[in-house]
Every structure is written in structure tokens, then in C-alpha cells.
């Protein structure tokens, strides 16, 4: 039986998982939180941003969503906080802040 990734979670018994961890659909990484490794968080200032879009293609984790030729705020569920976006921004519109957990 081909079980959907949405039906498998950290409470699933082994009998309800897939052989070898096979995944029978695309794009499932979108639903998986890999942003928790981050020690530094990028903060975007839309007032300074000129929407040059240099940051988006430099992001190694596709964590800067672009819609209708304009970047949106960061996808912090997948951003690892590498800071490349802040380094390549020509206008200083991205700064890195220490990630704090309550």
C-alpha cells in the first residue's frame, strides 16, 4: 500500500510506514521544519529594500519567496540563517540577528 507522507508522523507505528522510507509524492520537504537549526535570523526591511531580487537566487534553501516579481518576507521554516542574503544585499536591507528561544 502506498501511504501518503501526510499520514505519517512521529507517532506512526512501524506497521503504518513505507518500506525503506519511500515517498510516493513530490514536494514533501516543504512540510518539514528544517529552520530549527538556525542560530542567526535574517531580518528584512521592506522600506530599504529596492526589490532588486539579488538575494532570492543566492539563497541556498529557497527561503525567499518571490511573487509577481517582488520578494516576500523570509520562509523561516526552511531558512538556516547562513547570512548569504545579508552579505549580497547592495542596500543593507537585510540584517542578521541572534536567534533567541524563549
Amino acid at each position: 500500500m502506498k501511504r501518503s507522507a501526510k499520514d505519517i508522523n512521529e507517532r506512526s507505528p512501524w506497521q503504518e510506514m513505507t518500506p525503506g522510507g519511500e515517498i510516493y509524492e513530490g514536494g514533501t520537504a516543504k512540510d518539514y521544519n528544517t529552520g530549527e537549526w538556525r542560530t542567526h535570523r535574517p531580518v528584512w526591511d521592506p522600506e530599504i529594500c529596492k526589490q532588486c531580487l539579488l538575494c532570492a537566487p543566492f539563497c541556498p534553501d529557497s527561503s525567499i519567496p518571490v511573487k509577481e516579481k517582488r520578494r516576500m518576507d523570509f520562509d523561516l521554516m526552511h531558512c538556516k540563517g547562513c547570512g548569504i542574503c545579508a552579505a549580497v544585499c547592495p542596500f543593507g536591507a537585510i540584517r542578521m540577528e541572534q536567534e533567541v528561544r524563549e
Binding site: E10, P13, M17, P19, G20, G21, E22, I23, Y24, E25
Partner: protein, 399 residues
């Protein structure tokens, strides 16, 4: 209709491969299995098979090729020995945990060092915990027959594990014996087509194979794999039963040779069984109740069945053609001794490590083991548990 021919063990396996006509053969030669890809290359050159013959630069790559091909939905095979199998080690686990039913013809050769090309079982025994099904042959006929059964066992939907079809390097791989070969059409009908439920290509639905498995999930996948190995026991017997109905030759987890009233018995794997059977006949003629268990299936290990077969035996020697380097015996000894633990009246058990790196094991050596078991019966003392046989020694021999 069966045809009588004479082939070496390597030829027999290559011939079975030709009859099955697998989708992919990942080829890298190593003694003593080199002839398998060599013969198969001729079949490819002659247009006798439709197989994609992929020549690679190492065994790590040949197993990787099989993994990719099998995940794509193809039936993939390879052959190797000794250091070649060791070089695949990482990928053997990937194949098994990814649940890809690859078929590997393993022509057993010792592991270096010092460098040696001759037979023992240390290569396959090193991979005994890798999640591969392992089936061993006594002779060329069994190597051929085991190969014909391999894919159906491995591809059984609730098994889906890779399978190693093992035979003794040079002893069976290069010795030419009489053999019964089956018709191409009958073999193809018996083996059938490979139709996995999911595959990377040729399907409308997507598939990801071997994704990163985090801590909350990976153990569950390992348990699934362990369950699959238990399921393989049933699959091996089912396929053997159909093989017997189709071709008339009977197979199980092991062969019991004159075990029905045996007081002393050996448990061993592979071609030495032929030598031991001759010895059993000699001893029986002298009134000694000797028996033999020739193990065919080492993984999954038929624990309850072995225990039942040994329940009435008084003394037993487990013969390892592999040095365990455990300071307490070889891998077959560990399994058999553990299997007998729950018997209310278990036999006295010793381990004899023999035949390492091609060291010959004549009938006279097998007789020494049986005589030693008789002495254990007479004295009631088991004595040393972990004995080597066949090496020169300056000390007094145990056997």
C-alpha cells in the same frame, strides 16, 4: 524437459542469468567470480540477451549501479567475491534498507590478508548482518537451482530484500560437473517478470528512494526490514515448493543427511557437505550413527528448524569455514549454539574452524571430527569448544 550438460559453477550461474535475461548487469571482475561477467559478456555480444551490460570501475560502483537500476524498476544483477564484496559493504546496506531486491552471485573467497584467492566463507559471512538473504550451494546444480529461485524470493512483496546466491570459489565455481539445465521457456515462466509496486521511471506516480531518515523514523524502517527478513523464511519455502513441483528437485532451509537416528552430527555450509556425506557413509558402514546438516539458508537463519533437527543428537560439531576472530568461535557456531539453547536436552556442541583460505578438507579430516564427537560421548566431557583443523601445529592436536 531437462537437458543434461556439464558446466562449471560459474558457467551454470551465467547460464541461469542468460535464461532469466535481467534488465541490468553491473559488471566488475574479481577472482574467482570473474567468469560470470565474462560468460555473460559473450551472451551480450552475441545478442542472446537484452540486458544493459554496465562495465564499472569498482564494486562500490557495481552495487551502486544495481541500486539505481533496481530503484528505477529494473531487475539488476551482479557477481563478486572477497574484496569485491567487502568494497560493496556500504552499498550492501543501502540496497537492503532501501528494500531493493538485487541478485548478487557471490563466489566465496577468503578476505585478504595476507593476500589469497582461495575459498572460505569470510566474505559473505562479513555481510551476514547487512540485510541480504544468503543462500549457499553444495555443488553446481544447487548454484544453478538457487539462482533460478533467487529473484522470486527477493521480489516477494512482503520481503523486498536483496539476495546473495553463494557458492564455493574454485571448488564449485571452476570444477566442471554434470548438471541438469531447464528449458529457457520453463525458466522464464518460473522466474516471471519483475513488477514492483513503485519505481522511479516508467510510472505516472512519483517516487523518492533513500531519503534522509531522521531519528524519529529510522528505527521504524529498520524494524520493517527485520520483519521482511522473517517473512523471507516463508517465501523461501514457498518458492522451493513451486520449484520442486516445476523441476522436481527439492530444497529447504537445510538438507538433513542420515539425521533420523544420528547420535553425532556435523552442521556445515557448502561444498564440504559432499566430503562429509562420503564420511557419513563410511562411518555408518562401521555402525556409527553419524549424520549431517548442510545449511542452505544462512540468512534468514532457520533457528527453530535447526534446533528441532538437532534435538535428538548427542554431540554436534558446527563447522565454520570462516574465522570469526571473536576468540570464541565462528559465526555459524554462534547461531547454531544459540538455536539449541532452548532445547530441554541439548547436544554437546563444539566449533571446528576449517578450510580457511582454501586449506583442503579431505574425508580423513571430517572423520577426525566425528571420532572426536564419539570420544565426547564416551567421556561425557565436551573439552575445548573452539578448535581449528587443518593447520600445522607444534602442539598436540585436539582432534
Amino acid at each position: 524437459m531437462s537437458r543434461r550438460d556439464r558446466l562449471s559453477g560459474n558457467e551454470a550461474v551465467a547460464y541461469a542469468m542468460k535464461q532469466i535475461d535481467p534488465d541490468v548487469f553491473a559488471a566488475f571482475p574479481i577472482t574467482p567470480s570473474t567468469e560470470i561477467p565474462q560468460y555473460f559478456a559473450q551472451y551480450v555480444a552475441n545478442g542472446q540477451v537484452n540486458t544493459e551490460y554496465v562495465t564499472v570501475e569498482s564494486e562500490h560502483s557495481s552495487m551502486s549501479t544495481c541500486i539505481g537500476a533496481e530503484a528505477a524498476g529494473a531487475r539488476a544483477v551482479t557477481a563478486t567475491s572477497s574484496a569485491g564484496l567487502a568494497y560493496m559493504y556500504e552499498m550492501l546496506y543501502v540496497a537492503a534498507t532501501s528494500r531493493l531486491p538485487i541478485t548478487l552471485a557471490c563466489v566465496n573467497r577468503t578476505l585478504t590478508g595476507p593476500i589469497n584467492i582461495n575459498n572460505d566463507h569470510s566474505d559473505a559471512m562479513g555481510a551476514r548482518d547487512s540485510g541480504w538473504i544468503q543462500i549457499y550451494a553444495e555443488n553446481n546444480q544447487e548454484a544453478y537451482d538457487n539462482y533460478l529461485q533467487a529473484m522470486r524470493i527477493a521480489e516477494t512483496p512482503d520481503v523486498r530484500l536483496p539476495i546473495m546466491i553463494c557458492q564455493d570459489g574454485f571448488i564449485t565455481s571452476h570444477a566442471v560437473e554434470n548438471i541438469l539445465l531447464e528449458d529457457d521457456a520453463a525458466v522464464k515462466a518460473f522466474v516471471g517478470e519483475y513488477r514492483p509496486e513503485a519505481a522511479l521511471i516508467g510510472r505516472e506516480s512519483p517516487l523518492a528512494v533513500g531519503p534522509y531518515d531522521t531519528c524519529p523514523y529510522c528505527m521504524e524502517h529498520k524494524v520493517m526490514e527485520a520483519e521482511a527478513m522473517k517473512n523471507a523464511k516463508r517465501a523461501i519455502l514457498d518458492v522451493a515448493a513451486d520449484f520442486e513441483r516445476t523441476f522436481g528437485r527439492k530444497y529447504g532451509f537445510f538438507e538433513e543427511y542420515r539425521m533420523e537416528d544420528a547420535e553425532v552430527a556435523l552442521v556445515l555450509i557448502g561444498s564440504t557437505a559432499g566430503t562429509a556425506k562420503a564420511c557419513v557413509e563410511d562411518l555408518r558402514a562401521k555402525g556409527i550413527k553419524a549424520g549431517l546438516i548442510k545449511l542452505r539458508v544462512f540468512r534468514p537463519f532457520p533457528m527453530e528448524e535447526i534446533a528441532r533437527a538437532l534435538a535428538h543428537v548427542k554431540a554436534c560439531a558446527v563447522m565454520d569455514k570462516c574465522e570469526g576472530n571473536s576468540a570464541c568461535g565462528g559465526p555459524l557456531f554462534a547461531e547454531v549454539r544459540s538455536a539449541c539453547y532452548d532445547l530441554p536436552d541439548r547436544p554437546k556442541l563444539i566449533n571446528v574452524v576449517y578450510g580457511l583460505a582454501g586449506r583442503d578438507c579431505p574425508v580423513t579430516d571430517i572423520e577426525r571430527v566425528y571420532r572426536h564427537l564419539m570420544r565426547i560421548l564416551e567421556t561425557g566431557e565436551t573439552g575445548p569448544l573452539y578448535i581449528h583443523m587443518g593447520q600445522r601445529t607444534a602442539e598436540e592436536e585436539v582432534l
